[in-house]
């Protein structure tokens, strides 16, 4: 990422002792000494204006014996990233926590602790987040191996030794992918994670030692009709009012990053589909961008148009689903959802015709897309975006937007101020509903979005109703973009160079980000020149947006929490990865 020369000099001249440029080949940004990280980060936030900390993640550099924490900060007014990193020895990785400066780092630091074992000093509640309390080891460390471990990198050689297949289960004593540490005795094992969780939600015993209290702790999920999957919340209530609330996730933690570091670059593409499974094309887009940045290629014209088309269709189908689900949460059980699903099926038909699959499209390739548009599909899109969708949006307006019940339950509930939204690293519709006009398509344009005429939808109340309206606005804006795409899409090639199974990716790092339907979706990829990525991290908007669930819910009634969660629009595949 290029910095303007004035900025580089300020950071380096201001902290000559603590900050050096990252000189490794293919890398960029600054290396900050962990001791002065807080001081440098304060300067970056307050004086340089990088007030939006988008991504925090760790990398395990096993050969060098180092752990590295990578921060991507942006200005909420737009522009490219300021990347700064803190390195710490691998055997005792400790870094000061940035939660006091950027509250949005909360869940991400917990994730880095959980998966990599990096301790963040000063973090208010450093517990495991995706795995359970008591799990053995930190699985994303390079020397940590799962029970079903076969080989370091795919493609595996040993699937057919001597022409005979074997099952990995046969090699494991328990026939399952489990392993236990030495000396573990299941008879006297006690689970302590729940106590820590409920303890962090709020003490039953008051500070002065008295026991008199009205607060009760209510647990919602992971099997609960309102949680959009296997999400869980622990709330402390005073009567019906929320006093404290903590999200609990990891019930769908499918080890996306660990598996991704073993996959080949292209082999990872279908896995990205399963992140946010409602908008697989957008996920493909972000990942393709990150790897293309590393490879230094760009897709041809027609492929860019097809990509934008697919990404916008995804946004439409995702927002329809989000609106339907929000209405479900408000108690309009399944009827608005049926309207939404009816339109979504039309989009899915297009995806099926284009890629062969309704949901898991696996359509993007590095430097292009998998195959050209089939005959007649442009006509279908044209009818959809010029005629059918605008008409249906009017219908939804009549049924939902003006509904008295919807307005009563949504207006003024779950409010997030712009300052809070930026500090909490909220992204996408939630951020824009709070009055921050930040859209990656405009703030840091990628692909060919700078050619299309569209408005960044902004609303200013920051409540549930505005988050609903934002999604309606964005469907209309997406239709506008799609109208321009179908009118101007050129003929031509759809793939830069020859399609390859095994791409050559030079060593280095890249952070590709797109404005996914749920917010800024980023992929941080570190390559060491081998066929598999060394580090593969997903900045998942569903995950980070949950940082705001607590602040938005506190003070509201328990029934409103369900609606607040619905208005964030999470997908658990992406939250837990």
């Amino acid at each position: 990422m290029e910095q303007t020369p004035t900025l580089t000099s300020t950071l380096e001249t201001r902290f000559p002792e603590a900050v050096v440029r990252d000189e490794r080949k293919g890398f960029s940004g600054y290396l900050v000494k962990p001791e002065s990280l807080i001081e440098v980060a304060t300067f970056i936030r307050d004086e340089m204006g990088y007030d939006y900390l988008s991504s925090v993640t760790g990398v395990d550099y096993l050969p060098e014996g180092k752990m590295e924490v990578v921060y991507h900060a942006y200005k909420s007014t737009g522009g490219s990233a300021l990347v700064f990193k803190a390195q710490t020895p691998r055997d005792n990785p400790v870094v000061p926590s940035l939660v006091p400066l950027y509250p949005g780092a909360d869940l991400q630091e917990r994730e880095a602790w959980d998966l990599l074992g990096i301790r963040f000093e000063g973090h208010p509640d450093l517990r495991r987040i995706l795995m359970w309390e008591g799990f053995e080891g930190h699985p994303l460390r390079k020397d940590w191996r799962e029970a079903f471990f076969e080989e370091e990198g795919k493609p595996f050689k040993n699937r057919w030794p001597e022409g005979r297949a074997y099952r990995i289960e046969d090699k494991n004593l328990f026939g399952n992918n489990v392993d236990y540490p030495a000396g573990f005795n299941p008879e006297n094992w006690t689970l302590d994670g729940e106590a820590a969780l409920y303890g962090s939600v709020g003490q039953a015993v008051q500070p002065d030692g008295s026991l008199k209290t009205d607060a009760i702790i209510v647990n919602l999920g992971p099997q609960h009709p309102s949680t959009h999957g296997v999400f869980r919340m622990a709330a402390r209530l005073d009567g019906e009012t929320i006093v404290d609330l903590k999200p609990v996730m990891g019930y769908l933690h499918r080890n996306h990053e660990k598996i991704g570091e073993r996959n080949t670059y292209l082999g990872n593409m279908p896995f990205t589909d399963r992140l946010d499974y409602l908008s697989s094309m957008s996920n493909n887009f972000g990942y393709a961008l990150a790897v293309e940045k590393l490879m230094g290629i760009r897709p041809p014209e027609r492929a860019e148009y097809i990509r934008v088309m697919m990404a916008e269709l995804t946004r439409i189908s995702n927002h329809l689903m989000a609106i339907g689900a929000l209405m479900n949460d408000l108690g309009a059980y399944f009827t608005p959802m049926l309207y939404a699903l009816e339109e979504r099926e039309l989009v899915l038909d297009i995806f099926e015709a284009v890629s062969g699959s309704r949901m898991m499209c696996n359509y993007f390739r590095f430097g292009g897309v998998a195959r050209d548009l089939p005959e007649g599909i442009l006509e279908k899109v044209r009818v959809l975006v010029y005629d059918r969708l605008p008409r249906k949006m009017e219908d939804l307006d009549v049924y939902i937007t003006q509904s008295e019940i919807v307005r009563n339950r949504c207006e003024g509930v779950g409010v997030l101020t712009p300052e809070q939204a930026i500090a909490l690293s909220m992204a996408g519709p939630v951020l824009r509903a709070s009055g921050v006009p930040y859209d990656v398509r405009r703030a840091d344009p990628y692909s060919i979005y700078d050619r299309f005429e569209f408005d960044v939808a902004v609303r200013y109340h920051g409540d549930i109703y505005d988050r609903y309206l934002i999604r309606m606005d964005e469907i209309r804006e997406s239709c506008r973009i799609l109208q321009q795409v179908v009118d101007t899409i050129p003929e031509g090639r759809i793939q830069e160079g020859k399609p390859q199974y095994q791409v050559r990716v030079p060593a280095g790092e890249a952070y590709g980000r797109v404005e996914g339907p749920k917010g800024e979706l980023g992929f941080y990829v570190v390559s060491n020149g081998k066929p598999n990525p060394w580090r593969y991290h997903v900045r998942a908007p569903s995950f980070i947006n949950l940082t705001g669930l607590g602040p938005m819910s506190i003070g509201n009634k328990i029934a409103d929490v369900v609606a607040v969660l619905g208005s964030i629009d999470i997908v658990l595949g992406e939250t837990d990865r």
């Binding site: 076969e150 236990y180 689970l191 994670g193 990891g250 769908l252 499918r254 598996i259 499974y277 899915l348």
Partner: protein
């Protein structure tokens, strides 16, 4: 309907044919059960979205008598395990299964629920829900299309048709034992395996202490397997 259940193999006198139906108890019992299967409103991952699509107007599994989905396990006959089963979630799924009243059925929807799917090697992934609870129908696909799910329902109905009230396990005197809920330890474990696990971990501990003591002796070279 009548065609299907009204073929017991007895002749009905012609004057009574309009008023009397003769069938076996099994047939009417199974017909009633298979025509009103209530699935649990229980989604795990991507497959749950296809399950919702199957419930919606285009595919509409209400046509098969699955009129409503119930969020409470106490009110359902069928659990559709729709998505990747993680170790963190497995105890809850077993608990939900134990809470369902008999007769109960399980459909493993998709590759993950059937055998771990693309995430099989993952450290937090259970390689198939059938490791913990019995499964009646497996549906392949990633995710299965709504048509595939409907096909799975039809296969389940065929299975129900073949059952008999006289041999059904839920009318026996003795109670059906609940499945032990797996526990989240350093890794997930089944309490029934406790002794095997203890043996394994003790052996591992012995090996480790041996390896720690070995370098002290001068003759011990690094072990090569």
């Amino acid at each position: 309907m009548s065609e299907e259940i009204n073929s017991p193999g007895y002749d009905i006198p012609p004057e009574m044919q309009a008023q009397v139906r003769i069938t076996t108890l099994d047939k009417i019992y199974n017909w009633g059960r298979r025509s009103s299967i209530w699935p649990m409103m229980f989604g795990l991952a991507c497959c749950a979205i296809e399950m919702i699509c199957t419930a919606a107007s285009r595919f509409d599994f209400a046509r098969f008598g699955m009129e409503i989905m119930r969020p409470s396990p106490r009110q359902v006959d069928l659990m559709i395990v729709s998505g990747t089963v993680t170790k963190k979630m497995a105890p809850q799924i077993v608990r939900l299964y134990n809470q369902m009243p008999e007769p109960k059925y399980v459909i493993a929807m998709g590759a993950c629920a059937s055998g771990g799917g693309p995430f099989k090697e993952g450290y937090n992934v259970v390689a198939g829900i059938d490791r913990y609870i019995p499964v009646d129908v497996y549906i392949p696909g990633c995710p299965p299309t709504p048509q595939a799910l409907l096909h799975g329902f039809i296969r389940l109905m065929e299975k129900i048709d073949k059952e008999s009230i006289s041999t059904s396990r839920w009318y026996r005197k003795e109670p059906i034992p609940a499945i032990p809920v797996p526990i989240l330890g350093p890794d997930i474990f089944d309490p029934r395996q406790a002794s095997a696990i203890t043996a394994y971990t003790q052996e591992k501990l012995a090996k480790q202490t041996q390896a720690e003591q070995a370098p002290a002796e001068p003759a011990a070279a690094p072990e090569q397997a």
